[in-house]
């Protein structure tokens, strides 16, 4: 999975601010969500992303994995990510 290539985003103080084309909505992600978003460049699999989240946020892999999958579903719902 990777970021929607049409999404413009900027990291500000560790939080991602994202604007999608044709939508008057701006999304601001939490610090952990922002890390996942930043890593969604299409070159990493979900396991490696979860491992990075565990490193950065001192969370166990099971919780990180569950949260990351739920977060990705949210991103999909808003068309912020696409399958590679």
């Amino acid at each position: 999975m990777r970021r929607n290539p049409d999404a413009a985003y900027k990291m500000i103080d560790g939080e991602a601010m994202i604007v999608l084309p044709g939508k008057g909505v701006v999304h601001v992600l939490s610090p952990s969500g922002s890390l996942i978003w930043d890593l969604l460049d299409g070159s990493r699999n979900l396991d490696s992303i979860i491992a990075r989240v565990c490193e950065e946020f001192a969370v166990d892999p099971q919780t990180a994995g569950s949260d990351a999958r739920q977060f990705l579903q949210e991103l999909e719902k808003f068309q912020m990510v696409a399958e590679v």
């Binding site: 900027k10 103080d13 601010m17 084309p21 939508k23 909505v25």
Partner: protein, 325 residues
Amino acid sequence: MEGDPILTSALQEDQSWKIADRHPGWNFHPGLNESPGGEVLRLPGAPFPLRLEGLTGDSVANLKKRWRTLKGEPAISGGETRLVVVNAGVERFLVRPPVDQRPEEYRSGFASRDHEHLFWSYRFAIYFNEKSNQGKIAICRPESPYLEEAVENTLRIVFAWKALLMGGFLIHSAGIRRAGESYLFFGPSGSGKTTVSGLSPAADVLHDDLCLVVPWRGAYRAMGFPFLGDGRESLPEIQELNPVAGFYRLVQADAEVRAGLEKLPSSRGAAEIIGSLPFVSEHSQARLAALDNIARTVAQVPVFRLKFRRDASFWNAVEAERKVR
């Protein structure tokens, strides 16, 4: 079949009316050389030096009337932007949505390559080269008031581009001058921008709907956008750039709630601001430039959420915060 959900859905998704859209390509404007008239108008008091060519005598008179309060030199010195009005030779570029597709969104198109930009809407199409600082406004209807409206719409787009190139942006906001600084109150339609303007001395209102923010001489500064908005009859009279004291996202409060300020984290403040930028969400290059510019702006200028009743008491909260900063 009446009430058939599948058929209803298909009708709602019918976009066939767009088939008559005409998207001007990069070869469209170079072939246009006939102007409605031979008059030239230099715009006084605008943020940027500007020269309009190809106007009719009537359109010059009408534009001077619309811009009658603009005086003096441009606030931002630099090379003069030259825009030539030319006849498009086509009836329209974009088709208005049919009545059953309302509420209508303002339809427009945008394309960029290197330093060149195209923008088009229903009955005008702009070509602008930011390197040469020149462009053409192709208009479908050369008579009044369509010509003047096309010119003002063009200037909104061109000034927005120029602001982005300078590291700034246009923002839908009420701008109020107070003690030599600009206070920018923003929020969606109905949030109170016009009310804030109405509660402030008319002589200090930069604009009630659209302001320009640019880094200039060591600070982020703002001025009112110098043209009439929809349905407005008077222009802002202040044509100067003042340092921005803060951005204030208007949130209407109940009558019994006191006006109060909450400083937003930079990312939230930036997100609130970008939601109030004209043109930006539709066009990818502008989005990216705006995100960069706003990120730099909020690193220097605070953004607040302002709980606000429809009276002037909000100034107490705003000024109290400004004094202790």
